[in-house]
C-alpha cells in the first residue's frame, strides 16, 4: 500500500475520527488515476453522474416525506 496513502489516513483519523476516513475512502479512488486517459475520464463521468443522481433522489425523498415541494 502507498505510504503516502497510509500517512494521509492516519492524519485524517487523528483529525476527525473514523467518519473522516469514510469520506476520504469515497474520494480517494477518484484521485488514483490509471494510465489510460479515456478510461480515467469515463470513470469520472460515471462517478459524477451516479453521485448527482443519488443526491437528487435523496433530496426528493426527504422533501416528500415532510410534505415539502421541491424544484429538484
Amino acid at each position: 500500500m502507498n505510504p503516502k496513502f497510509i500517512e494521509e489516513l492516519i492524519q485524517l483519523i487523528t483529525l476527525g475520527g473514523s467518519t473522516a476516513v469514510d469520506l476520504y475512502l469515497k474520494l480517494e479512488p477518484l484521485v488514483h488515476l490509471g494510465p489510460d486517459e479515456k478510461a480515467n475520464i469515463a470513470k469520472a463521468i460515471v462517478a459524477s453522474d451516479s453521485a448527482d443522481e443519488d443526491s437528487k433522489k435523496t433530496v426528493r425523498e426527504w422533501m416528500a416525506l415532510r410534505g415539502y415541494s421541491t424544484n429538484v
Binding site: 469514510d22 477518484l30 484521485v31 488515476l33 494510465p35 453522474d49
Partner: protein, 171 residues
C-alpha cells in the same frame, strides 16, 4: 453529530485531495505519469458531485438529530439538490471533451453561480440557525462546495490557456 464532524473537516480533505500532488496517475508498474489538464478537470468534477452528495446526507443527519429544524434544513437541501440537478448538465457538457466544453460559457456560469449563491446562503442569515457552531459547520459544508467550484474554474482556465498556447505555437 458524527456526520457534522466529517463535514466540518471537508476543507481539510479538500486541501489534502485537491492540492498539488494529490492526484496520482501511474502505469501498471507504479511509475508516475503526467496528468492531463482535462483529466484534472474531470476528476475534480466527480469530487464536486461526491462532496455535494455527502453534504446533503450531512444536512439530513443534522435535521434528523434535531440540531436544526426541518424548516432550517429545507433551504440548504433545496440549494444542494439544485446544485446536483444543474451539475448533471455540466457533466454532460464536459463529457463532450475539451474542444467543445472548455469554451462553453455555461460551465463558468454554473460554477460562478454556485460560488455566489453558496456564499449568499451562508452570509444571508436567512437560514435562521442561531447556534454559532452549527452555523459554522453548515457554512463550512457549503464553503467546501464553493472551494471545489473555484478549483474547477481554475482548472478550466488552465485547459483554455494550454489550448491557446498550443494553437499559438503551431502557427
Amino acid at each position: 453529530m458524527r456526520k457534522r464532524r466529517i463535514l466540518s473537516l471537508a476543507p481539510v480533505l479538500l486541501l489534502l485531495l485537491i492540492g498539488t500532488g494529490c492526484l496520482r496517475k501511474t502505469d501498471a508498474f507504479g511509475a508516475k505519469l503526467a496528468i492531463s489538464p482535462w483529466e484534472r478537470v474531470m476528476t475534480h468534477n466527480a469530487m464536486f458531485s461526491q462532496l455535494n452528495n455527502d453534504a446533503i446526507k450531512g444536512t439530513i443527519g443534522v435535521a434528523q438529530s434535531g440540531i436544526i429544524t426541518d424548516q432550517q434544513a429545507r433551504p440548504i437541501l433545496e440549494w444542494e439538490g439544485q446544485v446536483s440537478k444543474d451539475h448533471e448538465t455540466v457533466t454532460a457538457i464536459l463529457a463532450k471533451g475539451p474542444e467543445v466544453a472548455a469554451n462553453d460559457p455555461a460551465l463558468r456560469g454554473f460554477f460562478e453561480q454556485v460560488r455566489t449563491s453558496g456564499i449568499e446562503l451562508v452570509t444571508s442569515g436567512g437560514i435562521g440557525i442561531k447556534n454559532p457552531r452549527t452555523q459554522q459547520s453548515l457554512s463550512q459544508d457549503i464553503q467546501s462546495i464553493v472551494n471545489i467550484a473555484e478549483a474547477l474554474l481554475s482548472d478550466i482556465e488552465a485547459v483554455k490557456a494550454a489550448r491557446a498556447s498550443a494553437q499559438t505555437g503551431g502557427q
